[in-house]
Symmetry: C2
Subunit: 190 residues, 2 copies
């Protein structure tokens, strides 16, 4: 439902070329006007520092100066990223109730919905970039155990590997996209 609150307006901008042209350094409207979700997600969280800002937000940071201190990010860049995250509906900007100078940046529902991705990235990096020993672990509060590695599953809960799944064109796919999926499907099999 929160989707509905921001998507009506936001969707228009997503579909206008000028918006994407200004996003990130990838000024290729043709790429971002496709409805490939990865292209769109790149436009929204693909810029330098954006993922780190989100990580900070998940760690509970809410204030401009705290983001700056924790990340060592330049203030103008931080300002820009927070603005874009708010625009994109991932975070909300709220003047503090107790201190009129202060502003609080918090994740919205769409923003929080990214946490499986953040966890997936963390698990991947811990395994492949930190050689299994990172500074960060996730545990299940109820049991204290490490959480399970993120896995792709079927509706009935079977774990699915890369070869068990297929990409198929969705409702918005065009002809070129459909042809690509057939090629991709063959490639995945081989």
């Amino acid at each position: 439902m929160l989707i509905a609150t921001y998507s009506a307006e936001y969707r228009k901008r997503l579909q206008s070329a000028t918006y994407f042209v200004k996003l990130g350094s990838m000024s290729r409207p043709n790429v971002f006007q496709t409805n490939c979700p990865i292209a769109r997600v790149t436009a929204v969280i693909g810029e330098a520092w954006t993922l780190m800002v989100l990580r900070e937000a998940f760690l509970g940071t809410r204030h401009f100066n705290d983001f700056e201190r924790q990340l060592g990010i330049a203030r103008n860049i931080l300002s820009d990223r927070l603005k874009k995250l708010v625009e994109a509906g991932l975070m909300q900007r709220q003047p503090s109730a107790t201190d009129k100078r202060a502003v609080e940046y918090r994740l919205t529902e769409p923003g929080r919905a990214l946490y499986p991705v953040l966890i997936g990235l963390t698990q991947w990096a811990s395994q492949y970039l930190c050689c299994g020993e990172s500074a960060l672990r996730f545990i299940d509060r109820a049991t204290g155990q490490d959480i399970a590695p993120l896995s792709v599953q079927s509706q009935d809960g079977r774990a699915l590997g890369l070869k068990d799944i297929a990409m198929v064109p969705g409702p918005d796919a065009d002809q070129a996209m459909e042809e690509r999926f057939e090629a991709a499907s063959r490639a995945a099999q081989g």
Copy 2:
């Protein structure tokens, strides 16, 4: 085991400041020398276009010119990103056996291990950026059904929300990091 094949050499570079300083535009060694997995993953796949190149690779693209055509990426940037992905061990570069002009870029095991993340991003974007109707769906080959939404789970398969999990310092965490997690833990509860 494939980890072992590239990590011995790669790990050294990961730990040297100069490597990170040159990665992306975020020339802040202090950030990337931390062992925060998100910081590291940003260094490796956070640059503009890198995620798109990976998406292409998952779609079965293997040749330089095909990446260029499908993405509309500048050739020098593509060259740079492929080089870095190979260096980082996510892709491998192999001269074609049948055509001596051609080169094949393929995902390695560490690269393929990113697919849950790609799927998570796709599902998130489809829901929040494409309003549920994207050009791309994933189905279970065995049944033809859509796959399940990516979920974070406990060891025994319970679905875990953001509030059911806690971040705790791992083996490589320092004092400052430990203090942060306590703050983060409190923030997640509230």
